[in-house]
Symmetry: C2
Subunit: 180 residues, 2 copies
């Protein structure tokens, strides 16, 4: 099995997981009656971290699709990287790294923000909210698990990009390409 | 310049930055008079994310020191990786990746938690606190900037570990070592 095929498969998986995460967070809402006629609706806009997460996951999913399009349409890039397009390989590697860290970071920020909603923070007098909006919080929790799986898949993808790029270099000389 | 020397330099820098971050957060405290005799002392223990960050940064700083010790004491590992110790190279690469993601994630969670303390979250009735504990919050902010620089340095270190490992492999066959 070629690195390019594994890479394409991983990109499809991460695109689907990112889209799923974004949709689960975006379309999550729960309305609760507090007193007589007073109702409160919980949505992803109540927390900045969730709002940012939806944008990050959407953007990175589009990036993954673009990478797949490159793989499927441009015939020159279906083959393994060679010395002649190593700068292209560097670009893909750096973008993949950045994408993996951005998804991981956005997800971690959302988990941290949600933790406050689950447990509250007594010393700062922040009250917990998930005891009232249970279904809403469960759906967010599921979305964040998906998001972490996507981040792990993207970390593996960036390792494969690193492998495809760095194996072009000589093991004896620093940053010198290996002769064929 | 050899990869091993760049790697050692980056590890020294990240150890220092991680230790600095951990100390800045750990020893930050501010006492404020609220009413007549009522005082409130802000420390890193008020927020779980900061508490976890101190532990993460301390643990990863110790890991970096151990990597430096390996580099300085064991003569066999001062040379570049060769095909004979490639499994060792895989171990270092995976540990470096994990360390970089853990530091980045811990720091991002702390930033997210601190954002609530700076801005509050009106829709959830969480009040901001940094208008009262300004000096405390400024020191935490400085620590988190250090933490992010450390995370970037560690990401570069793990790229170098990837380079040192993957350049041993053949560019034509999948996961086959290149002949000398």
């Amino acid at each position: 099995m070629d690195t390019r095929n594994i890479e394409a498969l991983l990109r499809i998986i991460s695109t689907l997981l990112l889209a799923l995460t974004a949709c689960l967070v975006r379309f999550d809402s729960q309305t609760k009656h507090l007193f007589y006629t007073l109702t409160k609706k919980a949505t992803f806009k109540d927390m900045n971290a969730l709002y940012v997460l939806v944008w990050i996951d959407t953007a990175v999913a589009i990036y993954s699709v673009l990478q797949l399009v490159r793989y499927m349409i441009l015939p020159g890039f279906r083959k393994d990287l060679t010395a002649s397009n190593k700068y292209f390989g560097w670009g893909i590697y750096l973008l993949d790294q950045a994408a993996a860290y951005v998804v991981f970071g956005g997800n971690t920020a959302a988990v941290q923000a949600s933790m406050f909603a689950v447990t509250g923070e007594k010393s700062l007098q922040w009250m917990k909210l998930c005891n009232r909006f249970t279904r809403f919080c469960t759906q967010i929790g599921g979305a964040l698990v998906c998001g972490y799986i996507a981040a792990i898949v993207m970390a593996i993808t960036s390792s494969i990009s690193a492998y495809a790029l760095f194996r072009l270099y000589s093991p004896n000389n620093f940053l010198v390409l290996k002769g064929k």
